[in-house]
């Protein structure tokens, strides 16, 4: 099990809470809510160790595409980067 934290300053805050997904094989749970401070924070707990660079690249690209401020929590059970990106986009649609 591994914990990864990513932070970025600035951005337009999300307005609502959004929750989706599940901690199930190949899937992940995403909690997205308005940030306590400003900027975006993503905290990942993943069951699969050793892929921090892939996680960072995936999350950085998401934040590049969406200039948002939000507190995002990801609880992962071996999802692929494609699934991670898709769930993040789905959560953002609900939270905006």
């Amino acid at each position: 099990m591994q914990r990864i934290v990513l932070e970025r300053a600035g951005g337009t805050p999300v307005t609502k809470r959004a929750h989706l997904g599940a901690v199930a094989s190949g899937n992940l749970e995403v909690l997205c809510e308005p940030p306590a401070g400003d900027g975006a924070t993503i905290v990942v707990s993943t069951s699969v160790d050793g892929y921090e660079p892939v996680w960072r690249a995936t999350l950085e690209r998401f934040l590049e595409q969406h200039f948002i401020a939000a507190a995002i929590e990801i609880n992962d059970f071996g999802a692929t980067p494609a699934m991670v990106s898709l769930r993040l986009e789905q959560a953002l649609e609900l939270a905006r």
Binding site: N27, Y51, P81, M83, S85
Partner: protein, 550 residues
């Protein structure tokens, strides 16, 4: 007179040899029916050391009664056999080499035995002639790999040796034709002998003997995909393939590879495809095994015809009731034919789409992984641009190249891959594992499934790369990198370059194709479970036990 006889002997040795061999097994023959109890002895007398023997191991049905008994012969009597078969997939196929009964093999695909086979090659117990595509291997049966003996499988035989192969004719006609007409010996295992066959798939005059097997031939439901296992990412890729490839090029005639990604396409035709008004415009004619996941599209009126390589367990009653769509005999059951379906897929379809385990920056693809010898099957033929093609179609012409008055079209060869297979395993890589396998384990050349220069499109969850539109190798690589996500290849993506390629249509992202990522949900699937497929089929589809949740 003596000279004449000698000359005759010189030109008829094969016929004479055949007569001699048949005489040697007469003890177990009643008419054309062999005594199954004495099959091991029959094989020991029939097969000579060094013989080339074709053992029918299809993708689907297996002549397993004959292969199990062949593996039980005395290696003192039968040894150094040269095995030729398309699918070396059963444990006893490998036992033949372990026991010294066979020494050399020419084949196409080894699937479940790929690991054991690689080990035997390493130990020097197997000599691999070559690893082929199906069509190549069938071709060589008629040139330089003609079998001395063919051991095949059928559903039923009559007293005259006529064979009925039911839904799984597959490659039996190709094997039997090559063997029978060059004075080889054809023995067929059958599930039963009957007085009258539903139809004749192989004429009795091509068959030397039949034997009733101890149990029906082995067969696996290889092309059944449970819709419950399709995830949102596969659905997103399916939406991109439909909009970015099928709709853009009006693809009517096609072949789908095996896998959940292509199953997702089949399952959203009646929903997403319908909403785009594409019924009748795309996906009307298929070279395809009877995929259960195509049932909703068939029932919704999308499909005009399907020609199949083999059958699929559980689809029998459905096919019989849909003879307008499938190729069927007068008895109602499917007539499949691997050789013809492969030929049709090569020359008469405009698109192949399939997945792979690895794709490199030049779009070369491979399913070979270290320590395994898996082979190819039919994908390299389906996934290649046949230079011998001369008829035009809209989709083929849409990719026309050359403008000096002799432009020709091009087959659409599409690779459909998620950028990562599992959380840390990239599909798109800098170098294929296959590239490191040349000269090892019997590979004279790298085991590439589809060569990059034949690939026209790559679809990932990130978008579509229209490789055929790239001006040069650099653009081609940049286009692939633009949709390669965070794989090593994708990390080379540059924003300005990508924008330029998007502007000229070499790269398309979902928004460029009018696809909303958020719409990629399982609710788009016309069937979300096996039970749904059964409902769609009007209760005509009978899923195998392992796929049932009721």
């Amino acid at each position: 007179m003596m000279a004449m006889l000698a000359l005759e002997g010189r030109w008829n040795t094969r016929a004479a040899g055949k007569a001699q061999r048949l005489a040697s097994i007469a003890f177990a023959l009643t008419g054309k029916v062999l005594d199954g109890e004495r099959i091991v002895e029959v094989l020991e007398r029939l097969i000579r050391p060094g013989d080339r023997v074709c053992l029918e191991g299809n993708n689907q049905k297996q002549a397993d009664f004959l292969s199990r008994n062949l593996a039980a012969v005395d290696p003192e009597r039968v040894h150094d056999m040269h095995l030729v078969l398309s699918v070396l997939g059963r444990p006893e196929h490998v036992d033949l080499f372990e026991r010294g009964i066979a020494r050399k093999v020419d084949f196409s695909f080894s699937g479940p035995q790929s690991l054991r086979l690689a080990q035997l090659v390493e130990d020097g117990r197997v000599e691999i002639g070559a690893i082929h595509t199906y069509l190549e291997l069938f071709g060589r049966y008629f040139i330089d790999l003609t079998p001395n003996v063919a051991l095949v499988a059928a559903d039923a035989a009559d007293a005259a040796g006529n064979l009925y192969t039911g839904a799984n004719t597959e490659e039996t006609p190709a094997i039997v034709e090559a063997t029978a007409f060059r004075n080889g010996i054809v023995i067929a295992q059958v599930n039963e002998t009957t007085g009258e066959l539903p139809r004749v798939d192989i004429p009795g005059s091509w068959v030397d003997a039949v034997v009733v097997a101890d149990r029906p031939y082995a067969i696996e439901p290889l092309f059944t995909r449970d819709p419950a296992e399709i995830d949102d990412v596969a659905i997103l890729m399916a939406m991109l393939a439909i909009r970015g490839v099928y709709e853009s090029h009006r693809v009517r005639r096609l072949n789908h590879g095996i896998g959940f990604d292509t199953a997702a396409i089949e399952l959203i035709l009646p929903t997403f495809g319908e909403s785009l008004g594409l019924r009748g415009e795309i996906c009307t004619h298929w070279a395809l095994n009877p995929h259960p996941t195509l049932i909703p599209a068939i029932e919704s009126g999308w499909v005009e015809s399907i020609h199949s390589f083999g059958g699929e367990l559980g689809m029998e009653r459905y096919i019989a009731a849909r003879s307008d769509v499938f190729f069927t005999g007068p008895d109602g059951s499917l007539r499949s034919n691997r050789a013809f379906a492969q030929m049709a897929g090569l020359y008469a379809t405009d698109l192949f789409i399939g997945s792979t385990l690895q794709l490199d920056r030049d779009a070369n693809s491979s399913t070979a992984t270290r320590g395994r010898i898996a082979g190819f099957g039919g994908a390299p033929n389906m996934g290649s641009d046949p230079h011998g093609r001369r008829h035009a179609s809209d989709a083929w012409l849409a990719l026309a190249r050359g403008d000096d008055g002799i432009a020709r079209g091009r087959k659409l060869v599409v690779q459909l891959v998620e950028t990562f297979r599992a959380s840390g395993v990239p599909t798109i890589v800098e170098r294929l594992d296959a590239a490191g396998m040349v000269g090892k384990a019997g590979f004279a050349i790298a085991p590439v499934m589809i060569y990059g220069d034949d690939v026209t499109h790559v679809v990932t969850e990130e978008g579509v790369a229209y490789l055929y539109r790239a001006e040069n190798v650099d653009d081609r690589r940049a286009a692939l990198a633009a949709i390669a996500g965070v794989t090593p290849v994708g990390m080379e993506r540059r924003q300005e370059r990508t924008a330029a390629l998007r502007a000229v249509g070499v790269v398309a992202y979902p928004q460029d194709l009018g696809v909303r990522r958020g719409d990629a949900r399982r609710s788009l699937l016309a069937a979300s479970s096996m039970a749904d497929l059964v409902r769609w089929s009007d209760d005509l589809y009978d899923p195998p036990a392992r796929f049932r949740s009721w």
